[in-house]
């Protein structure tokens, strides 16, 4: 693949209209050449950002050029689906692809003045898109624009597909015989990153039709009465939000219904939110739609996990979120309604209904509402959002795919280590006793336990390290072959805890999240086990609270 500093090979290719486009003729100001395939999801993810850059370039928008590695028909379909206005060229013979030689697509080459490559990158990278935009816009004297917002719900990076010129001439098959795929293999193009979606329809009720019962019978909220989402209520919310109603915040897995501002508002009204809570709910929906969170799996699994919202920062107190006594109960309108609104969005736009796509064996009371704020006033340590790298003045929402809450009573230990040993015993049970490694957990420390730990000199990182070092499952538990977790014991790490051989419960301290929440009386902390963790499962995601 050509690298920065290389000379960009000249080429001439036809566009969709048959007109030839040549690199030399376009020389001058910086030019962005993007190699794409029409059926590559990462290419489709990238196109709206290229469009945004082309729009920002104004009359110079044609300095963004895509080179399609597919035929005219598929390329035309893509161009129409995304309403692409910058030039899209056809490299049917793949000769140009061979000369630039990217291993995968999308592949971006920023060609500077003098025909030198200034940036070359494969895959989707928000950072590279923004630096390419900065170079192009500033060289034309235009205001620099962030084309790829880090918090727009799309991942920061995503690998693409093998470049066509490196694909084998015959389809790869795992067997000894190779057979051409049939035409039916072609899939319908799906717009993975729509920016706008149609307006919600209106339903006018007959005079004798009660709106509360209608919302239940129409499936708006079949299992719990809601506030009817009247046009008047929805309009009041929309007036308070600095975004157009048809803007898509995310596609909600597993059915990927578009969550427009208007649809989110309709669900927020039903949940009993106030308009100002939307500042928190919108980033919550972005986080839920973030691929790393894997809401598809969370909603479809037979496990009971459901998103727990953890709010950190001053927005919590400003908007009335509870962080103190009874925080996991029904204690504040903000917590209850925002948590409920997320659940309604997940059901109504994500399409996971219990017993259909949502196959959880037991469910989870958190499916009513699961939203807490960290108790900063009673925490001796830095807030969660600061620990995660955000500024002290910022606020964040963090989503954790959580099972139920297991309380840990420890009223007699006088030392931090004593408190943590009791919590570690409960931590050893998350997911399933003998299951180690691929689990994560959040420990909710009550203010009294946090104070004991702090006065004993424990920083938050010390707490995490202590729990990591002292949480394990004794080897004697594995005498019962055939029970869950025994089949994977070869991958577990054996350690001594209190002189007894154990398998370490967690692979890494980062699998243990720590927050301080709850009231100042009562030495009750809690442990919440997660679902399958890491890239194969659901990762904890955090988004800043901002419009």
């Amino acid at each position: 693949m050509l690298s920065p500093g290389d000379s960009a090979p000249d080429f001439s290719l036809p566009g969709l209209d048959g007109t030839d486009w040549g690199l030399t003729a376009a020389a001058g100001d910086p030019l962005l050449v993007a190699f794409i395939e029409t059926d590559c999801p990462t290419c489709r993810l990238t196109i709206p950002y290229l469009k945004r850059l082309a729009e920002a370039l104004g009359p110079n928008g044609d300095r963004v050029v895509a080179v399609s590695q597919d035929g005219g028909e598929e390329t035309k379909e893509l161009v129409e689906a995304y309403d692409v206005s910058f030039p899209v060229l056809l490299d049917v013979d793949l000769d140009v692809s061979r000369s630039y030689d990217p291993p995968s697509v999308p592949a971006l080459f920023l060609v500077g003045r003098g025909g030198r490559i200034e940036l070359s990158e494969v895959g989707f990278h928000k950072g590279d898109l923004n630096s390419a935009a900065e170079k192009m816009l500033s060289s034309l004297g235009l205001p620099v624009l962030t084309v790829a917002d880090p918090d727009d719900g799309a991942p920061a990076m995503k690998p693409g597909c093998t470049s066509r010129h490196l694909e084998s001439a015959v389809p790869v098959s795992s067997g000894e015989v190779t057979v051409e795929p049939t035409a039916e293999a072609t899939t319908e193009p799906i717009d993975l990153r729509p920016e706008r979606a149609p307006a919600a329809s209106r339903v006018t009720l007959a005079d004798d039709e009660g709106p509360y019962e209608y919302c239940m019978s129409a499936g708006f909220s079949p299992f719990l009465p809601v506030v009817p989402p009247t046009v008047e209520r929805v309009d009041t919310f929309l007036a308070a939000i600095p975004h157009p109603p048809d803007r898509v915040v995310g596609l909600v897995p597993p059915c990927y219904g578009p969550a427009t501002i208007e649809k989110i508002v309709a669900n927020a009204v039903m949940a009993g939110c106030k308009p100002e809570y939307m500042e928190v709910l919108i980033p919550v929906i972005k986080a839920a739609c973030d691929e790393r969170f894997n809401l598809h799996g969370v909603q479809a699994t037979t496990h009971s996990a459901t998103p727990l919202i953890i709010l950190s920062g001053s927005a919590a107190a400003r908007l009335g979120f509870a962080s103190g006594a009874g925080v996991f109960g029904c204690v504040a309108r903000a917590n209850s309604s925002v948590g409920r609104a997320l659940q309604l969005v997940m059901a109504n736009l994500g399409g996971a209904l219990p017993g259909e796509i949502d196959m959880s064996a037991l469910g989870n009371p958190g499916r009513f509402s699961y939203c807490v704020a960290e108790n900063h006033e009673e925490s001796p340590w830095e807030p969660l959002h600061v620990e995660l790298g955000f500024g002290q003045d910022e606020s964040t929402v963090t989503l954790f795919a959580a099972g139920g809450l297991t309380e840990v009573s420890e009223h007699t230990a006088r030392t931090g280590a004593g408190v943590l040993r009791t919590i570690a015993a409960t931590l050893s049970m998350v997911w399933s006793w003998r299951r180690c490694g691929r689990v994560d957990a959040v420990v909710v420390l009550c203010p009294e336990h946090a104070a004991t730990l702090s006065s004993d000199g424990f920083a938050k990182s010390d707490v995490r390290d202590f729990l990591f070092e002292n949480t394990g499952v004794p080897l004697r538990a594995f005498d019962h072959e055939g029970t869950e977790g025994t089949q994977a014991r070869d991958s577990y790490e054996e350690v001594l805890i209190d002189g007894e051989p154990h398998y370490r419960k967690f692979k890494d301290p980062s699998q243990i999240g720590i927050i301080v929440a709850g009231g100042t009386a009562g030495k009750f902390s809690a442990v919440m086990g997660g679902w399958l963790t890491g890239a194969e499962g659901s990762q904890i995601v955090t988004y800043p609270v901002k419009w």
Binding site: V203, T204, F220, T230, G257, M270, L344, G537
Partner: protein, 92 residues
């Protein structure tokens, strides 16, 4: 009289007909898709043996999803597009 804003996903779900059922497994090419749950391969090894021995399946293609928590990648599904049928299995 009140007018409500529809809070549901209003896209119309496309109608999909299931592929025609196989009348026989004799001489067919089948794919066994391991969703990567623990010991799924053991179950599928046994199934592969039985399908060939008892039902005359001529060829078995084996594929594995990267994780059981997410849909199969499109490229994997495309690799299976030529087979007569797919058996997707899990285990624990």
């Amino acid at each position: 009289m009140s007018t409500l804003v529809n809070p549901l996903d209003e896209r119309s779900a496309g109608q999909q007909s299931p592929a025609p059922r196989l009348d026989s497994l004799e001489g067919k090419t089948l794919a066994l898709l391991d969703i990567s749950k623990p010991r799924g391969s053991e179950l599928l090894d046994r199934l592969e043996h039985l399908l060939k021995e008892r039902y005359g399946v001529s060829r078995i293609v084996r594929e594995t999803k990267p994780t059981y928590t997410k849909p199969a990648p499109g490229a994997l599904l495309e690799r299976l597009a030529f087979v007569d049928g797919v058996i997707e299995a899990l285990a624990d």
